[in-house]
Subunit: 308 residues, 2 copies
């Protein structure tokens, strides 16, 4: 059975994939996760986007925040503060266990893709989740204050520095994780989740070979716009696009994917952009893309599956 | 001002030192801690005896157990169990922070003595606490099941395997931590805390130079018996001594320290052993050594200071 392949960032992707998983309970999806915002904190390797997808699909994620573990405590982090360490990156006690496990397995020589599969299995995921690459790729945010490490810009400084540019350090030397190119080549369909095109999907596309595989695959490639009415559903996407000199519109997202995209899903609020999307040679599909609650997540996934 | 130097294991030592610290609030003591039972768990460097002393003197230790942090949770450890990891070594969420900090600083090249001082400072300790050595010394327990790593024997297997012998792996290549030999040489007095002579004090004495410094110092060297009426106040000392072919008595402890000991403090229950201790050329002092409650801890410390 051919798989549905998904390119995924964090919260927005996880929400969409949760709806999709409810509709395809017996079908394994192949999720290619962003590791551009991975970080080293307190000596631990943290993969925020991979964990957000894992926790959400496992049903243990915090639904309100969209990230982290539901109902978890922050006692270890509070105790780290005693040593004068920076504690702006919120790590809960159960979350620390995930990072401890990942870090120890990496130190034992297991590649990130292997550890990610082990963690997904421990959380009972049916979907196959794999990082875009086993090599480190680190998103750097160029601002007037200089070149900032992603989490410093995003979490510590709350994304308040205007973004001039984005760089994916290490991408040129990275290779796609095992199975990634094959999955795209043999997919029934490829879905680009409603994630930030610059900092969630961008790092995945920057790994040499992945963008080419998306162009070459015979499977339809469908993206769901993370921008609705010129605003990001979640996060700084719209502001980043503006400060980088782009329009902050769904159409702009379609343009960023133009070379490999077959179908683009827009919200009703953006139905006026559909002709311009179609003018790019991309099929435009208008539906409700705002995922408040599981019912709407499933409705969006259903709309996507119907198009395919 | 000359310092009081103390050789310390874990729980028994910490209890005695807590009483001593109350009597000498303005005097800094120099505590040489055992690292023979240090271990690597989940990729972290754990120093159980150093932490027991730190937590106890900081007043944040769990008084009932004698180790760990008062009122702390075990959420991270529980979450590690999800990954199939062994969770028999009880690590609380706040405790993980200490080990994360220690491990990261060691990885940055700070020696264990430096990290230990930083942790002690973070907990507001007035006493100077230092490991016996910056090099790894690992106590190995010889049993009929073979040679067991200390924590595996002590915690995982609950010390149920009869001990044939004890080995301090790495001791021959270790050197005393900075300041240790100087502190012993210039001490006002050296106290050997009521700790297990084989697995708490033994590793300290096995570091080349320390035993010699105890013999050579002009300061009086005083030990408090951890054995009362043939039983250990805490832990497996008495059983170990028996299975290793020794008498499980306070007198036997005095014999183990005979070459450097000036004064030996026995419990009233062992007053009949005093003449035999004196026959070794060691001054015997009989008092109450059972430290139930802070009042008795202080009383024992007062008795020790009066002898000195």
């Amino acid at each position: 059975m051919k798989a549905i392949v998904a390119l995924a960032g964090g919260v927005g992707a996880a929400r969409f994939l949760e709806g999709l998983a409810r509709l395809l309970p017996r079908r394994r999806t192949f999720i290619i996760g962003n590791t551009g915002d991975d970080a080293e904190m307190h000596g631990l390797h943290i993969s925020p986007d991979l964990d957000t997808v894992t926790y959400t699909l496992a049903g243990v994620g915090d639904r309100k925040r969209g990230w982290g573990l539901q109902g978890d405590t922050f006692h270890c982090l509070a105790a780290l503060g005693r040593f004068g360490l920076e504690t702006w990156f919120q790590l809960s006690d159960g979350d620390f266990a995930t990072h401890l496990y990942r870090t120890e397995r990496l130190a034992q020589g297991v590649p990130l893709s292997g550890v990610t599969a082990e963690i997904a299995a421990a959380f009972g995921l049916r979907a196959r989740l794999t990082p875009m690459s086993d090599q480190p790729v680190r998103t750097r945010i160029l601002t007037r204050r200089g070149d900032l490490e992603f989490q410093t810009w995003f979490v510590k400084r709350r994304a308040r520095d205007a973004v001039i540019g984005v760089r994916y350090a290490g991408a040129a030397e990275a290779v796609p994780a095992p199975g990634v190119l094959e999955a795209i080549g043999r997919a029934r369909a490829v879905l680009v989740c409603p994630s930030n095109p610059l900092i969630s999907i961008g790092p995945i596309l920057a790994v040499p070979g992945i963008r080419e595989a998306l162009r070459a695959t015979r499977a339809p490639v469908l993206a769901i716009s993370p921008i609705v009415g010129g605003q990001a559903l979640k996060g700084p996407a719209a502001r980043m696009m503006k400060s980088m000199g782009m329009a902050s519109s769904a159409l702009q997202v379609a343009r960023l994917y133009e070379d490999f995209l077959d179908i683009f899903v827009l919200d009703h609020a953006d139905r006026s952009l559909a002709p311009a999307v179609e003018a790019l040679g991309i099929q435009a599909v208008v539906t409700n893309t705002i995922m408040t609650g599981l019912r709407r997540k499933k409705a969006l996934a259903r709309a996507v599956l119907e198009v395919l």
